[in-house]
């Protein structure tokens, strides 16, 4: 009745160890939890080595050092992170952080404005003026545009929420609540489908109750 595959047993025991937390915290769960943290860190380490360092640093350097030696520059800057563990030189860690922040900020400004601000507003206006969408399509587009504006008005704190701004912000709250409810529903269903997957694994692959 039970599976004969030792790996399936290991997976089942680990699943039960995590689920045992639903009863109360116990040593079985704590072992699984610590193992999970360790394995995830090891996995991230292997991924950083195999997917980032080997193809982008070691392979180019070993293939043609003369041409690719500039890659030593980011490697040396990255190595400065290690000085975090040397108290006397710990301030050197600010250099790779500064490079990361400078690059990150510089590279993100224009794309953020383009995708999160301009594109969002463009789409909202396009939906609200799309006559070809027909009666209801256009109505929902206009409603959606009103939703965007009222939601934004709720986050406008430069003026006290009085009069028209108060009305607009109140409508915005309603749109926000519908959005939060929808996100919540989606998240819950995502978690439930994971739970179903695990229970299905236990009953199908491990105990063979479901075939």
């Amino acid at each position: 009745m039970f599976s004969h595959d030792p790996w399936v047993w290991i997976a089942a025991i680990m699943t039960l160890a995590i689920f045992s937390f639903l009863y109360k915290e116990n040593w079985f769960y704590r072992i699984a939890e610590h193992l999970f943290v360790g394995m995830s860190a090891g996995y991230a380490m292997a991924r950083a080595w195999n997917n980032a360092l080997v193809p982008n640093l070691f392979n180019p350097l070993f293939a043609d050092f003369g041409r690719n030696w500039p890659l030593l520059i980011p490697a040396l800057i990255g190595l400065l992170y290690i000085f975090r563990f040397v108290p006397k030189f710990s301030h050197l860690i600010l250099i790779p952080i500064a490079v990361g922040l400078g690059l990150g900020s510089g590279l993100s400004i224009a794309p953020t404005i383009q995708t999160d601000i301009i594109k969002q507003m463009q789409s909202a206006i396009a939906d609200a003026s799309n006559v070809s969408a027909g009666g209801w399509g256009l109505a929902w587009g206009i409603l959606s545009f009103i939703g965007v504006l009222t939601t934004l008005s709720y986050f406008f704190f430069s003026r006290e929420h009085k009069g028209a701004l108060k009305v607009s912000a109140s409508i915005g709250i309603w749109f926000l609540m519908v959005g939060f409810g929808a996100s919540f529903g989606n998240t819950v269903m995502g978690r439930v489908s994971l739970l179903i997957g695990r229970v299905q694994f236990l009953l199908t692959d491990w105990i063979h109750v479901i075939r």
Partner: protein
């Protein structure tokens, strides 16, 4: 000097790469691609910092025999085994047995624990939602109804109750939900841009440590 140099680096790189986006030339594109490769290399070394901190934390716990110290051995073993096998089985060493063990450990230990860990959140979300959803105000009622409709719309049971429920759920997702998400994204965009500018111009200095003083 300890703080001026990092601030100067942020200023120069920040301004350079903000302008780079608007320069439509081959050199600009090559600079962008090279920078992405450099960034990938540099940020990979941050993993050393993260792993070092984790190993340090658990090594100290073992050394000082703190409560549950033996669990720290499990974490350290997990890092060593998964990290070691992943590197040995990867493209740099290509050891078949290591790759096989790494894949099996991922599929039969890490992945099941990962999904089980997120699955138990379903129970906690259910109890949290009971407290949050007790419709005490009109806004809470709207949240309750919207969440309930979306949940019912996703599962076949919803369609069994009333065939229009999936359509209503889709409408909720595509109209009011989309409107609020667009508004929030707009706010996030403005906030992220303002923060990036503050960092580049040296107004935001908390990353230097010491509360920016």
């Amino acid at each position: 000097m300890k703080q001026k140099l990092p601030l100067l680096i942020v200023l120069v790189l920040g301004i350079f790469f903000t302008i780079q986006f608007f320069v439509p030339s081959r050199a600009s594109e090559v600079t962008y691609q090279t920078t992405l490769q450099w960034w990938l290399v540099m940020s990979s070394f941050a993993m050393v910092l993260a792993l070092g901190s984790l190993i340090n934390h658990h090594a100290l716990k073992i050394k000082r025999r703190k409560e549950g110290w033996w669990n720290s051995w499990v974490t350290l073993a997990g890092i060593a085994v998964m990290g070691g096998l992943g590197i040995l089985g990867g493209p740099s060493f290509r050891m078949g047995w290591a790759n096989d063990a790494y894949t099996r450990l991922f599929l039969f230990v890490q992945a099941p624990m990962d999904s089980a860990m997120f699955a138990i959140l379903a129970f906690y979300m259910a109890s949290a939602s009971y407290r949050a959803f007790r419709a005490r105000s009109r806004e809470a009622t709207v949240l309750l109804v919207s969440g309930f409709v979306v949940m019912l719309g996703i599962i076949p049971f919803g369609a069994m109750l009333w065939h229009r429920i999936p359509d209503i759920a889709e409408w909720v997702m595509m109209v009011p939900n989309m409107a609020s998400k667009r508004g929030i994204l707009f706010g996030i965009g403005l906030g992220a841009t303002a923060t990036a500018l503050k960092i580049i111009l040296g107004i935001e200095r908390s990353w230097l440590g010491g509360g920016g003083k």
